[in-house]
């Protein structure tokens, strides 16, 4: 097990190194840089001023030098300065992480707490009106883009209640704080919940046909015991995999949700940073996301062993 862990950690480092190269060079392939954008915003291009600014920001240096400068700083914990705000990159990124983390966490919670029970119900009640209704709901969840759903929620809130559930940076009560995140989390989590529900349903249907389930029923176990203790426990593995993948995929959904609900999280910040070609922000933020995703996958792999005693990671 220990050797497996070491091997996985080594592979994770190699993966992150590869990602750092991809991030760095992909950003440089995109046409234009911060200086182009600054001059575009000012409506003129002065070659001398432009050259001075490129020199000041270090983007006139060879790409390899720029890469080594960045990755060296990253390893030392020096993340550089934002080209746009001229503040330390870490100072710009750090306060935004908890916002997105809360939102993502709540969305995943929403996804699991709605998707898994409904998936189980749908499987157990297969072929009934309830099953069809739940499948229509899940299909809608997969079909509705989260930005559209978000706008719909906002429009309905204003039209029906005269209220607007957009981000409140200074909530006065715990409930207000919860409300700030709950609605956007539901908007972005709806799609994940739908996916979780479908995976849970199909996985449950497969498990429910197994001999040991029939045996449990023959022994007189209650429906709840059969469904939740015996079936769900064995059907949950693919669901965990999907939730793990969704955790990474959520970042994409959060970009639009944060934009629609005006939440100052990292996802929207990342898009703005890409728009400005703010390399220090984009590189460090994407690296941070990569680290989170790589560790999330690692955690999911470890969770397999927890949920399925048959799985043992051997040397």
């Amino acid at each position: 097990m220990f050797a497996y862990l070491v091997r996985r950690l080594f592979l994770m480092l190699v993966t992150l190194f590869g990602i750092s190269i991809v991030i760095f060079f992909l950003l440089r392939i995109v046409p234009g840089n911060i200086v182009d954008i600054l001059f575009a915003a000012a409506g003129y291009v002065d070659p001398a001023d432009k050259a001075n600014l490129e020199k000041e920001l270090g983007i006139d240096q060879p790409l390899v030098v720029q890469y080594l400068h960045w990755i060296g700083g990253f390893l030392r914990g020096d993340f550089g300065y934002s080209y746009v705000s001229e503040k330390p990159a870490l100072q710009e990124i750090l306060p935004r992480i908890p916002i997105t983390a809360r939102l993502a966490g709540l969305a995943l919670l929403f996804s699991a707490s709605i998707g898994i029970p409904l998936g189980v119900i749908s499987a157990v009640k297969q072929g009934t009106k309830l099953d069809y209704a739940l499948r229509v709901v899940s299909l809608s969840g997969l079909s509705l883009p989260s930005f559209w759903l978000g706008l719909l929620i906002l429009t309905a809130s204003v039209a029906m209640f005269g209220q607007m559930p957009i981000f409140n940076p200074n909530p006065q009560t715990w409930l207000e704080a919860f409300a700030t995140y709950a609605v956007p989390a539901a908007a972005v989590g709806f799609r994940s919940a739908a996916l979780t529900m479908r995976i849970t349903r199909s996985s449950m249907l497969e498990v429910l046909r197994q001999d040991y389930i029939r045996t449990a029923r023959a022994k007189g176990a209650s429906d709840a015991a059969v469904n939740y203790q015996h079936a769900l426990k064995n059907a949950i593995l693919p669901v965990i995999t999907v939730i793990g993948i969704e955790a990474a995929f959520l970042i994409g959904g959060l970009i639009v949700t944060e934009t629609v609900f005006n939440i100052p999280g990292v996802a929207r910040f990342l898009v703005e940073a890409i728009r400005w070609r703010d390399y220090p922000i984009v590189q460090n933020l994407v690296m941070f996301i990569a680290v989170v995703v790589v560790f999330a996958n690692f955690t999911v792999d470890m969770l397999y062993a927890v949920f399925d005693p048959r799985i043992r990671y051997t040397d």
Binding site: P31, G32, N33, D36, I37, L38, F39, A40, A41, A42, G43, Y44, V45, D46, D49, N52, L53, E56, S82, V84, S85, E86, K87, E92, L151, L154, T155, S157, V158, A159, G162, Q163, M164, I166, P169, T259, V260, F261, N262, P264, R268, F269, E272, R275, W276, R277
Partner: protein, 532 residues
């Protein structure tokens, strides 16, 4: 006796009532103005930017030497009032403009304001100081200024190479705040220090900008507000919905499209909305250095094919203006009168006749029904550019020109234009000041950095100087009309239309004036108050 007492009591009561009413109707102190901001400005330094995304939140931090009167919608020489200058006077030769400065004014960090600060600011703008702006987009505004000299701590003179009466208009713009000598340009980008009615508190990129009342403001009793908070909401739908829901007291100025103004009025009937010209002209930039547009006939044909009213009808539900380079009257001060405008090819009311003429020019150049000219219409990939470009392509079809839309991201747009990597482009030109000096020199003079098409006509350039030196406003206006007409006839940068956009605010917001001939000069907010 009783009746006398009763009368006296009634009189006293009525006086009290009148005075109470006056008090109740007058401006109230306090409150935070909540406004949304359309995007996150790159920095906080007005001098280093060229977008009113900077002026709106940061103009309240500063003072100019002079300023356009903030409660008069139309900016003109007559509405320029003292700001940090108490008075000004032109020298006998009209080549020296001297300002007597206000005494006792303090920067937000407590340091005293003196003439040295004025000299520093303009030396930096002219590129003459040790400290440099990272970007200096309005350097050309001061081309005719030889130097700025001080006489003691409270007098400063602008010494000109030749008379330029409109220098005062440029100094009154929201783009011309006075900066402190003791704060570096870099610090001004992140934490601006001014003398204005509001102090800078914080700017969180993509999140918010906060200003607080300057208790030591030199103008007695101002500002009325305790502060201003801008929440940055780039998504227009979210922003408008939030305004309708009462989360904001005011929309971002001149940013609400005509259809959205209708939406706001239907969902929030009490909201006050005003639609005004922005002095931003949508125009065509033509690469006349390469075929096929090096042929003046094809350029003229293109100008003749434009149905300007159709653009305005589609994009602004009819609420836009047809004009030349200068914003047309009545809002614009210098635009050609309608009768003169209609004599310019392509501006006549009979679009079909114009297009017939255009077809003849195209046939003369070798194109016709069987041989169309294929062109790429380049533009920035944002709706205000892209939408008119699509309409332009449609209109060009009527004269045997098959256009293909070629969109460029913002980062690539100006480099593309600078390397002349386009045939024709759809562009927007904003005018900070409704004055020909700003517009002509910036956009049409030989060698100007913002003259994207490199149009260069030495004869016209001489006329630029003639109008610039003319002190008689009526004479100058006629010269300006002639120049503008010639620019349109030369197809230097055909103007399609001048846009109008809306600003909305809640009924309790008082003292709002939307400028009608510039989107850059009316954001001091010291007279604005909340009646709640």
């Amino acid at each position: 006796m009783r009746s006398v007492v009763a009368l006296a009591a009634m009189a006293a009561l009525s006086v009290l009532t009148v005075s109470t009413t006056t008090l109740a109707g007058g401006p109230k102190q306090g409150g935070i103005l909540r406004m949304y901001h359309r995007d996150s400005p790159g920095n906080a330094s007005i001098h280093e930017g060229a977008t009113y995304s900077l002026n709106v939140p940061f103009m309240p931090v500063f003072n100019n030497l002079v300023i356009y009167k903030q409660d008069v919608a139309q900016n003109s020489m007559d509405t320029i009032v003292p700001d940090l200058a108490e008075s000004w006077a032109w020298g006998n030769d009209n080549k020296t403009l001297t300002f007597k400065l206000r005494q006792g004014v303090k920067w937000h960090d407590g340091k005293p304001f003196t003439s040295a600060d004025v000299k520093c600011t303009f030396d930096m703008l002219m590129g003459k100081s040790q400290q440099k702006f990272r970007q200096n987009p309005r350097k050309t505004w001061y081309n005719e200024v030889n130097d700025v000299s001080t006489n003691g701590d409270f007098e400063v003179s602008f010494n000109l190479k030749r008379p330029q009466p409109s220098l005062l208009a440029l100094l009154a713009s929201g783009y011309t705040p006075v900066y402190p000598c003791h704060v570096s340009p870099g610090d001004m980008r992140t934490h601006p220090i001014g003398t204005g009615p509001f102090k800078f508190v914080e700017f969180k990129a993509n999140e918010s900008i906060k200003l607080t009342r300057n208790p030591d403001y030199w103008k007695e009793g101002r500002p009325y507000l305790d502060g201003i908070e801008f929440t940055i909401i780039p998504n227009r739908s979210t922003a408008i919905l939030a305004f309708v829901a009462g989360k904001f007291d005011m929309t971002f100025p001149t940013e609400v499209t005509i259809p959205l103004v209708k939406d706001v009025k239907s969902q929030a009937p009490n909201a006050i909305c005003e639609i005004a010209p922005t002095n931003v002209a949508t125009n065509i930039i033509v690469n006349s250095t390469a075929p096929p547009f090096d042929n003046i006939d094809i350029r003229r044909a293109m100008a003749l094919a434009l149905d300007r009213k159709a653009f305005i009808s589609i994009m602004f539900e009819g609420q836009g203006d047809v004009g030349g380079t200068m914003l047309p009257p009545p809002n614009g001060l210098w635009g050609m009168p309608k009768e003169m405008l209609e004599t310019i090819p392509g501006y006549g009311p009979d679009v079909s006749a114009n297009r017939e003429e255009a077809k003849k020019l195209m046939q003369k150049a070798g194109y016709g029904p069987d041989k169309h000219l294929a062109v790429k219409v380049s533009t920035r990939n944002i709706p205000v550019y892209r939408d008119p470009a699509v309409i332009l392509i449609d209109q060009l079809k009527s004269i045997y020109i098959d256009g293909e839309l070629d969109v460029a991201e913002t980062a690539n747009w100006f480099p593309k234009v600078a390397r002349k990597d386009y045939m024709i482009g759809l562009n927007l030109t904003g005018n900070a000041v409704d004055d020909p000096d700003q517009s002509f020199y910036e956009n049409y003079s030989c060698g100007s950095e913002r003259n994207y098409t490199n149009y260069c006509n030495k004869d016209i350039e001489k006329l630029f100087d003639v109008q610039s030196q003319e002190t008689d406003a009526n004479k100058r206006k006629k010269l300006v009309w002639d120049i503008d007409k010639k620019l349109q006839e030369d197809v230097a940068r055909p103007i399609i239309f001048h846009s109008r956009l809306g600003t909305c605010w809640q009924p309790y917001v008082k003292g709002v004036t939307v400028m009608s001939n510039s989107s850059y000069n009316g954001y001091r907010y010291e007279d604005l108050w909340l009646d709640k």
